[in-house]
Symmetry: C2
Subunit: 196 residues, 2 copies
């Protein structure tokens, strides 16, 4: 019994954000669940995983190549928003404010972790910029050290080609409090101020 | 793409302690993982789940009936420790201090949730007490309202048969701080004081 349980817990332990105790709790839960619910859980993951591929244009997770976004003619193909991860695309889409295309880097420059330009989908981005009539690249990497460095690196790489490179605005998040906001964010918010 | 992802996220959402954001994060992680790792994850759960049954004696999760503990002749069969859940057995075993048998109630009395004696494995416990030469029942339900009520209910039920009924000791947990301990725990700790 304990062997089976520990093996299941070990598998859950490999998931992000799941510690030793959570993993054991999930393992117990899974082993005590009705068989049909366990089957549904397993089959859903297996089915979804088998359908998933990467779009060879934007490098996002997709179920077709090119993906739904890249093949959508109603979207503005002259703007590319560069993000770190597939989930950033989902977040941007939820804003319903952006109607251009995307490019997923699958990471950020992080020399300490051995991640240089070669490990990211930068070649693929430059290839897209050569071929297409892209007018603007919006760099939407996270506003942390690695994200900023990556943004700077990309802008230096792209600017010589004459394409406009922009960075997403910094400011106070919705629901945030000025009194609890750090100085760098506030500096960005002042810089990004708008007439009302 | 999003449909597959949302379906996987929905499955993770059903697990205990996994919220909307964690579920989505786990879904992305799972869909971006190498196929062989996903297969290992799914196969481990499927295999373990297919082996699991309940011991008809102690009602614990098991892979054989009777389970390894109930069929172990080196253990003391005259003491039964009553716990709420299978994970409580694992915790007790880790203490390496208890060498008797167990009985898993699979819950506690909780009238507000519609859980009465019929929903717990109490009949099975009483049947064991009739047949075997059990000398002591240790009630190790949690020291919260439902756990205490269940302990009291069981003790009233068992005592008339002449079997000794005990409750696990209350006190300050290892690593705990007296200054941050609540009054009820401290009262229990004083009551359970030992000469040193």
């Amino acid at each position: 019994m304990n062997k089976d349980l520990e093996e299941v817990a070990l598998q859950f332990r490999k998931l992000p954000g799941i510690g030793v105790k959570s993993a054991r709790r999930l393992a117990y839960f899974m082993l005590e669940r009705p068989q049909e619910e366990v089957d549904l859980f397993l089959d859903t993951i297996r089915h979804a995983r088998s359908r998933v591929c990467y779009c060879s244009t934007c490098c996002n997770l997709a179920t077709s190549d090119p993906c739904d976004i890249c093949s959508d003619d109603r979207r503005d193909h002259s703007i590319i928003c560069v993000v770190e991860q597939p989930q950033d695309v989902t977040a941007m889409e939820q804003s319903q404010e952006y109607h251009g295309l995307y490019h997923v880097l699958h990471g950020v420059l992080s020399p300490l972790d051995g991640i240089g330009p070669e490990q990211l989908k930068i070649k693929e981005l430059l290839k897209r910029l050569e071929k297409n009539d892209v007018k603007e690249v919006i760099i939407a990497t996270d506003p942390d050290t690695e994200g900023e460095a990556t943004a700077y690196y990309l802008s230096r790489l792209i600017k010589p080609s004459g394409i406009k490179v922009t960075r997403i605005g910094r400011g106070i998040p919705a629901g945030g409090a000025v009194g609890y906001t750090d100085g760098i964010t506030l500096a960005g918010a002042v810089e990004n101020r708008k007439e009302i």
